[in-house]
């Protein structure tokens, strides 16, 4: 079965990103396909490489990056939501005159159409948020 997952809250503040991660991992472990993970609202804050969580806690951003590299997961950060919240890749930095970027490995910035496409192409779309 083909799943897509939407993550609407940032790391640590709400459990949404944790549950989405555990669901995605369990779906992959059960042999399902995960077509896309789409980050919207504060969910875009999962895609910054600038976090340094305490040593004795999970690293939510790295966990997503690693899962993406292991399973060729498509992690998409919504561009409009990212602009409001300060998540930028090299292209966005150039376009908006920023002096650097902060996107984490394995994430890419794209439009809301990617969410609709995920809804059309997937058998199930699951939303995790506040």
């Amino acid at each position: 079965m083909k799943f897509s997952v939407m993550v609407n809250e940032g790391p640590y503040t709400h459990q949404a990103s944790d549950t989405a991660y555990q669901f995605t991992r369990a779906a992959l472990a059960a042999g399902h396909e995960v077509f896309r993970v789409f980050f919207y609202h504060d969910g875009v804050n999962n895609g910054t490489r600038m976090t340094t969580p305490p040593q004795d806690d999970r690293n939510i951003v790295d966990r997503w990056s690693e899962l993406a590299s292991e399973h060729e997961l498509d992690l998409v950060v919504c561009v409009a939501a990212a602009q409001r919240r300060g998540i930028v890749d090299a292209d966005e930095a150039k376009r908006n005159g920023k002096d650097g970027d902060n996107i984490a490995p394995g994430f890419r910035i794209s439009g809301l159409g990617q969410l609709i496409e995920a809804g059309i192409q997937s058998d199930r779309l699951l939303v995790f948020g506040d």
Partner: protein
């Protein structure tokens, strides 16, 4: 897949206190380009999104409520509002923005987009969908 899916956007948040209503509306407007069978549902505090006369100037925020009037032009013309949610909040249909669309199959007649439905009807509508997003 060349199919058309039934998409429902459920709106359960009041406007302005959080961004969900605003960013949810952005999804609906972008999604309209994909030619799916789209409807919106307004449940609970979501009905406040359609309240007339919103004016955010003193609060210093963006007033995105005029964008609901554009929905008809994007062929998003099924806006289901739960009657019980209106009643619990002391609102009636007259409090809502008069949203309309033009029916090209009926000589471009202007028709209302908002349909006030009972909770039982809303429950049926949920079951009919293929994809549900909740804002």
């Amino acid at each position: 897949m060349s199919e058309t899916k039934k998409f429902m956007y459920i709106n359960r948040h009041a406007p302005h206190g959080t961004v969900y209503a605003h960013e949810g509306l952005e999804v609906v407007l972008i999604g309209a380009a994909f030619e799916q069978d789209v409807c919106m549902a307004f449940i609970g505090d979501g009905v406040f999104q359609l309240k007339q006369d919103q004016d955010t100037s003193e609060a210093g925020m963006k007033n995105f409520s005029p964008a609901y009037r554009a929905l008809g032009d994007y062929e998003v013309n099924k806006l289901y509002v739960e009657r019980e949610s209106l009643q619990e909040r002391g609102l009636s249909e007259a409090d809502l923005m008069p949203l309309t669309w033009e029916d090209e199959d009926d000589d471009w007649a202007e028709k209302p987009s908002i349909r006030v439905v009972s909770r039982a009807e809303m429950s049926d509508l949920l079951e009919e969908q293929d994809v549900i997003l909740n804002f």
